[in-house]
Amino acid sequence: MLLKVRGLEVHYGAAQALFGVDLSINEGEMVAMLGRNGMGKSTTISSICQMMTPTKGTIEFCGQTLNRMSSHKAARLGLGLVPEGRRCFPNLSVLENLSAAARKGQWTLERVYALFPRLKERKNQSANTLSGGEQQMLAISRALMTNPKLLILDEATEGLAPVVRGEIWQAIATLKKEGLSILIVDKTLKELLPLADQAIILEKGESVWAGQPSALTEEMKDRYLGL
């Protein structure tokens, strides 16, 4: 198993945000984390990436316990995060954004440019001059340049135009086809569910359901996702 999260609990000061999240990802698997806003999806991701310290529970990645590990060490083990809101380094060029994070491995500039040809055209442009879609492509590429074993995408298509969203989904599908393990949070279920191998639903900071996306009933979608 690539990632195993058990009984994860997280507090923001006195307020408890996660009340017990369980999550498992096998190699080459794509897992969709679902839930309405404020249910703890981003907190779970932050905890996995060691940007937050859990108060209880265990996180194991590649057979190693991540608890209390610094975030750069966790990333070096192979966690590649594409954070919510893109968050590229705005004053650096596309090339600088990519090369600053690069580690040796299968993902190289050429391969990233092949996935997103637009980035090659804009390689000397500052990230803050890119469109929202291009910034998202850059954020995904930056994570890929760290040669991750698990790519974590937090709302990768949020706020993007439909055409650009399509390009991003196409890239995600390509990554999955190439065997990259992916943990994804996204609201566009129409594109997400057909791609995902597994899904997990968070409700009020707790994982309440896990299974194959095809097993998700309309009643569950209505109750947990507000659809």
């Binding site: 990333a75 966690l79 995060l81 690069a102 040796k104 190289t108 050429e110």
Partner: protein, 341 residues
């Protein structure tokens, strides 16, 4: 293909846009004036240009820490002073023909500038390693205060070190040498300083344009984001801080040579403030900004200072104007805002 094969090309600073043209013009004026002054026998102006050049080197060092790494150090006088004292102490022992230390091994003085520069930079690097290892665990105003505190510690140490003059400082009776080069000749010394300024700018530009520079830049923008990319920001920032200190230390060694004197004032917090003024006036993160900043500072001090002892009031207004209306400094006013502004 390795990532480094297509790493970004280093910024050379000689692109012929408005900023590039300004850079060339500033450096050309800085070179031409002492050449002219020397030809008409006015060594005073040559020495003035040397002072500007030395201050500019110190500014290039601090600018690397602030502009590239976002480390607002208010203690760079420590490195400036360590560089100066290295030159002074080496010259003192060379002149007196005594040993600096005899146990566990003998170290004598030297009057060779090349050796002094290497030792000065190495000592500044070590000092920056110790200071940075502690102060870089803090941020913002705490980082400023801790760097200031370290500089003040070294300042008071220098004051209480009677062997090397204590509060009175130490004279360098004979300027140190580089082989057969006559470093006492004002123009020759200026050209040495000018060459070192170009070297400091070149190193700063190469590093800023490298993967290391990109990582340092990202640490300035968002350390957490850098960490989630698998890079520990701490050693990156510490390395940047050390490089910055070494450049400033080199300037300190040259300053001591120029004045033939080294004293605790080189280590005082006023000096840290002055180096910061060079950077802010010229434009934070601008490669040639410290050259403009140092030029303005020295010219204001020299010419307005002749007219009134309150010349720093004018400097204060200039700084206020830059901070309020021109975040890119004077370079920003001339060449427009840059990506670091």
């Amino acid at each position: 293909m390795q990532v480094t094969d297509t790493a970004p090309k280093p910024v050379t600073g000689f692109k012929f846009n408005r900023e590039g043209a300004t850079n060339v013009a500033v450096m050309a004026v800085l070179l031409a004036l002492p050449l002219w002054a020397s030809s008409v026998g006015e060594d005073y102006y040559v020495n003035l240009a040397s002072l500007i050049t030395i201050f500019a080197i110190a500014g290039v060092g601090l600018n690397f820490a602030i502009g590239q790494g976002g480390m607002v150090s208010f203690g760079h006088a420590a490195f400036f002073g360590i560089g100066g004292y290295t030159a002074g102490i080496a010259a003192f022992h060379s002149f007196e023909e005594t040993l600096f230390m005899s146990v566990p091994f003998a170290i004598s003085g030297t009057n060779q500038m090349l050796i002094i520069w290497v030792v000065a930079m190495a000592l500044c690097g070590l000092a920056a390693l110790a200071i940075g290892a502690i102060s870089l665990r803090t941020e913002g105003v705490y980082f400023i205060m801790i760097t200031l505190a370290f500089a003040q510690m070294i300042y008071y140490f220098a004051i209480s070190w009677p062997t090397y003059g204590g509060e009175d400082g130490l004279s360098i009776y004979l300027r140190n040498q580089i082989g057969a080069v006559d470093t006492d000749h004002a123009l020759t010394f200026f050209l040495i300083c000018f060459g070192l300024l170009l070297a400091a700018i070149f190193v700063s530009a190469r590093l800023s344009g490298s993967r290391f520079g990109a990582a340092l830049g990202t640490a300035r923008m968002n350390e957490t984001r850098l960490a989630t990319s698998g890079i520990n920001p701490f050693p990156i920032k510490l390395t940047g801080f050390i490089i910055s200190a070494m450049i400033t230390g080199l300037a300190g060694a040259l300053f001591a040579e120029l004045n033939g004197f080294v004293g605790p004032s080189m280590l005082s917090w006023h000096r840290s403030g002055e180096i910061m003024v060079f950077v802010i006036l010229g434009g934070v993160g601008r490669l040639y900004g410290p050259v403009i900043g140092a030029s303005l500072f020295v010219l204001l001090e020299t010419y307005i200072g002749e007219w009134t002892e309150h010349w720093q009031l004018l400097l204060g207004f200039a700084l206020l104007g830059v901070v309020l209306f021109a975040r890119g400094g004077v370079m920003g006013l001339i060449a427009g805002r840059a990506r670091h502004d």
